[in-house]
Point group: C2
Chain length 320, copies 2
């Protein structure tokens, strides 16, 4: 039986994940879902945001559905999200963005680069080592090429005009694309953050290093009016983790106003990951129909609550 | 007598800089302008994009007006722009962006961070050291605070939730802002690249590290339809360097179609640098009037050539 670890996390994670969970339960009653508590709330209560035992229960899952965690301005607190990505070796952060006239996917390397964690202080300076490995670059390039082969073409976001580590990344990605027979172009990341906004239709699959992908995906979210509606997948060879791109939004938490669409779409990405394209498409269509019929949360100009939106989606699913 | 080194560089630099030069000659006949050749063209001819003697003639100037240089896909070629920024210690890259309802300035640290040049290859990886020094952070923070004090407030773009080197940068900038009595907020750089597009009116002076500033200023250029119209200054304690943000645009070079507005506005920034706010404002107003009267280059939907646009601006200046 497919085992799904469900992590609500903090803030609105506790509101949008129950909705996404109900959607999965509706279409896949055969899946077994179990709750795992991680995050800032847990850290405040127990002193640990995610201990070894918790990590084991995440590791045991066939997939993880994740809400959001709060990163407090506390220097003692290291993001549990980064810890999970690292520990489960979730090396590909996949963020699809679709809109009128464009359909692109950002494939972000998720384990190294500036996120190496190799950092130190000297008397008068602080240093972070940006590490680009051959293995890390090759596996993310292959992941992006596999996607691009099913789609159209590949863009390699890089800053090889300044960084030797990116010249290395670019070289490896270019070689992988050639071997895979995928049409590919290189684009400097600064110019790309602008051009993706000016001409989103020119892009399809974009592969880039960790921090550049972090920034590029936020900038590109402007194309769809912000982070609110975007799902994502963090994929490794052994584990898969699905989360809305938005954060825990403490300012609107607990008010039943958060938009659960990103969480529901993340659940749909999870269904697709298990090969269940049929239910994934049905869930996406149910969301589309719900919105088209005017059922909208406040961020989209409506007055429907988080829970009520979820019920409307379940209604559409039943009717489909 | 004020000595200005004029560098046309490559591509459209050779078309837009003569226009900017004529504007300066018109308003400041007392300035002495001399040409300096650097760039890819020179590299192809002589094997050196900018030798020690050339650097000396740049160093001797009171300010440098710079066009653009081509960075060829040649691993042997290191950007002459980076060399000049480094050698003249031009630590503040200042990029103002103004539009309908917003008026902001990005203050980018211009000498360290990921541009440290400390890079190496190991068997299976390539590394770049991101170096944030106390001195480097303090002087860019002071520069930004001086600007913010004359204006409204400061935003510190950072990724302190991941990078210890940015926690260091943030700490120093926050302290400098407090000491200067400047209202200041921290903002994560990924979220900032989105929020600057969603709510540009919320920002005034933004200070950030080198690579983040590189990316943020390109993303923010979307607010004004691209890089085409943006001027910039690279300022150090001893030297000052003014350049349009756009590149050498080889595809449109030599056709008298490039828009010289960014170059002219960079010249206006230079005038302001010398305390000549009167002529700086007159030049900006002449550009505004020229465009308002329908004289526009192709990128703005007109048919006026680069040279003819320059003549129209000179005409407006004479009439002002
Ligand atoms: C919260 C933060 C550590 C994280 C990141 O930097 O990866 C976030 O910005 C993201 O994009 O998932
Ligand atoms: C050309 C390149 C080296 C340069 C940089 O990275 O600084 C450019 O992007 C800029 O913003 O001036």
């Amino acid at each position: 039986m497919v085992q799904i670890a469900v992590v609500e996390g903090d803030g609105i994670g506790q509101e949008v994940i129950p909705v996404a969970r109900a959607v999965i339960e509706a279409v896949r009653p055969d899946f077994s879902l179990y709750d795992v508590e991680v995050g800032y709330g847990r850290w405040k209560r127990t002193g640990s945001a995610c201990d070894a035992e918790t990590m084991e229960s995440l590791r045991a899952a066939d997939a993880i559905l994740f809400g959001a965690v709060t990163t407090p301005p506390d220097p003692e607190y290291r993001s549990v999200l980064l810890q999970i990505r690292r520990d489960l070796d979730l090396y590909a952060n996949i963020r699809p963005i679709r809109g009128d006239g464009f359909d692109l996917v950002i494939v972000r390397e998720n384990t190294e680069g500036l996120y190496s964690g190799i950092e130190w202080r000297e008397a008068d300076r602080a240093c972070t080592l940006r590490v680009i490995t051959e293995k890390g670059s090759r596996r993310i390039a292959r992941c992006a090429c596999t996607l691009a082969k099913q789609r159209r073409h590949l863009t390699i976001g890089n800053k090889a005009n300044v960084l030797k580590s990116d010249a290395f990344f670019l070289e490896i990605c270019t070689r992988e694309a050639e071997e895979a027979g995928v049409p590919c172009k290189a684009h400097y990341i600064d110019a790309l953050c602008l051009d993706i906004l000016m001409h989103p239709d020119r892009y399809d699959v974009i592969v880039t290093t960790n921090m550049f992908g972090d920034i590029l995906s936020d900038a590109a979210a402007y194309l769809v009016g912000g982070l609110g509606l975007l799902p994502s997948a963090n994929i490794g060879d052994k584990h898969a983790f699905f989360e809305p791109v938005h954060g825990s939004a403490p300012d609107i938490a607990g008010k039943n106003v958060a938009n659960p669409i990103a969480a529901i779409k993340s659940a749909a990405m999870m269904l697709r990951h298990f090969g269940d394209t049929e239910h994934a498409a049905a869930v996406e269509e149910a969301v589309r129909l719900t919105v088209a019929k005017g059922t909208r949360t406040v961020d989209l100009g409506g007055a429907t609550g988080t829970r009520e939106f979820g019920e409307a989606v379940l209604g559409e699913l039943g009717a489909l």
